[in-house]
Symmetry: C2
Subunit: 385 residues, 2 copies
């Protein structure tokens, strides 16, 4: 399977989750778009490219089950959440309810925009291990108050790699009259994604992780009834356009100044790649293999699963809380000495080792990771097991 | 010369100005960076790529004569000006002084952010034709009042293709205590650019036009004394960073979420390409050829130059005011029937045909354009000459 990718074969690559990796077939499609752009930049950027973007949005809408008219491509979920946080008007004292397990860049984003408005970003503590969906939901809503206006929550968390029950959260948030924003950075192509079922007001996902497009291809979905809330993050020709298209949402957010938007155009090829290689079953196999082999890692690391070890909570990511005084050095030694690419991540006071298990990974690589960790643990400051 | 580019040879390409065009050698460098990224995404995005960006900023700083520490790469000047307009605090009644010949996307940007703050974007009318530098400068300052806080001005305008005396404007603005922002979208690689001489507080330029990098490579320069005014346009890990670098300016604006930043990395290759092909002299030759041949076009179009026909006002762009009732259709016919890529642009009530003259263009193409325009003018609604 590694033959399908451009990845360096000398590296045990257990960090697909951070930035994905682009299969050769999709990468070639990317280059072909870039060449086409350079053959006639004016026609591509101003005429044909817009048609290609729309085709690509249609393929995406079909894949995640929503109307493509409610989608725009963005560079990454960070862009999307900045767009939302900048636009959603909060009154002094208002609260944005989230968890203490969100992505650090977006914690920064919400803190920044809440502070500007005298509002508060509430990172409701979630007890780990999570015992059940019900317990998670109950605990999440303990952060609710009559000042809560917005719910912001990951569908799959970055550091802990856990799946959260966002469908239920959105349903209950709606009953309370809240705006719901889901960070699905790790979701598309990783676990089934059905936007019509989740019914979030706003949803962002990265396609350059588990959909395997080149970097810089992500999307923002916005409920058509709330699109009017969103001014562009970058004002350009699409704002108060001289030649408006049928969609103000598209005009506002898809025009962004001159850029190479080829990554957006690889989405149909990424879907085709999944179909051709029966990727859903490849992914299911990865999840099963990972779940079948993590127990020995939890044992080695003297750590407990962060949630019940089943597919309600786990996909192709699994994080292990570890005891280390030198998290950065641990990650560096794993890479430099053992040629293992795996992140050691911080969330609050805790440190986690996160495995991504992708099609090209093998059980032998998990064994090699274990053997390496054992060796490293000779220095207890690096890894105390 | 066209052999050096990827451009479609069937097209008479007289619109280099809008989106540039990337020579094969620079395009190959682009692809090589993208492949390197895909070989080890984590190392590239989080470790090596940052070093490459800094090398690229150094090459840029040398080329435009400023400290690379005061530069960050941005996708395009629209991004840079949005960043500035969002951050510069204006009081109700304050004014941003500009001209009536600025780029439409940025007129929108200033109007948007001024309106939000109860401030005013003043587009001082510039009489055309411009008679002299002195007259331009005098006329520009007629838009000044005690409420003026910021000057925003193009160094080379988009629609009219004229060079403005921004060095003098910045010098005088500084004496009046104003913040100066120069839009140099069309400048780098087109005319000599020396940031230390211009002394603007903020300067943005596109490298994907006349520097010939791939699309999405531009820069923002900020005076070190004013960098503290700028929060990130996109809040990410670099804001209140856990691991700050030596430069908060870099941390704030260079971290932007996951994206393919390969375009930024082609800058050294773009400089090397210029050196190898003695591009300064190629460009000088283009300017001389253009100036030597535009008189017959002005005659044909019964139009007058918009400024004295010399290199103080003209580079490789020349715009002709034309009389057309159907500007969009005129442009379409030129492309579809005659295979000439040339823009028909609107600025206020006026319409302009803009020629870009680049290394691969030939005088015969100007003759062909003239013959085509003559034919088209059989329909006076399309072109009244």
């Amino acid at each position: 399977m590694k033959e399908l990718f451009l990845l360096n074969k000398d590296i045990t690559y257990l960090n697909f989750g951070s930035f994905g990796a682009c299969p050769k077939a999709i990468f070639e499609d990317y280059i072909a778009w870039q060449e086409l752009l350079e053959k006639e930049p004016v026609q591509f950027v101003t005429v044909d490219g817009l048609k290609y973007i729309n085709k690509s949005l249609s393929a995406l809408g079909k894949f995640i089950n929503c109307n493509p008219k409610d989608l725009v491509f963005v560079t990454n979920p960070t862009y999307a959440v900045n767009l939302l946080a900048k636009n959603i008007v909060l009154n002094p004292g208002d609260q944005v309810l989230s968890t203490n397990l969100e992505y650090g860049a977006l914690d920064r984003t919400w803190n920044y925009y809440c502070k500007k408005q005298g509002a508060h970003y509430i990172t409701q503590p979630i007890s780990l291990p999570i015992v059940s969906k019900e317990q998670f939901i109950e605990e999440f809503w303990k952060g609710y108050s009559e000042k809560t206006k917005v719910v912001f929550i990951s569908q799959i968390t970055s550091t802990t790699g856990l799946i959260f029950p966002v469908k239920e959260i959105c349903e209950q948030a709606k009953k309370r009259g809240l705006i719901t924003i889901v960070d699905g950075a790790h979701v598309p192509g990783h676990i089934d994604l059905d936007l019509s079922a989740i019914q979030a007001d706003f949803y962002t996902g990265a396609c350059h992780k588990w959909m395997m497009t080149p970097k810089g291809c992500s999307f923002l979905y916005a409920n058509p009834n709330l699109q009017h809330l969103l001014d562009p993050l970058i004002i350009s020709w699409g704002y108060e356009s001289d030649n408006p298209s049928a969609s103000q949402f598209f005009d506002y957010h898809q025009y962004n100044g001159t850029r190479d938007f080829s990554a957006f155009l690889t989405l149909p090829k990424a879907v085709e790649f999944r179909d051709k290689h029966n990727w859903k079953s490849v992914s299911d196999q990865c999840k099963a293999t990972l779940l079948a082999h993590v127990s020995k890692l939890f044992d080695l690391l003297q750590s407990k699963p962060l949630a019940p070890l089943n597919k309600a909570f786990y996909g192709q990511l699994c994080s292990f809380e570890i005891d280390t005084e030198k998290p950065e050095q641990l990650q560096r030694i794993l890479f430099e000495k053992y040629k293992i690419e795996i992140p050691v991540m911080l969330q609050g006071p805790k440190k986690y080792l996160r495995i991504s298990y992708q099609a090209f990974n093998e059980v032998a690589e998990l064994d090699y990771l274990m053997a390496s960790l054992k060796e490293i643990s000779a220095d207890k400051a690096l890894l105390n097991i």
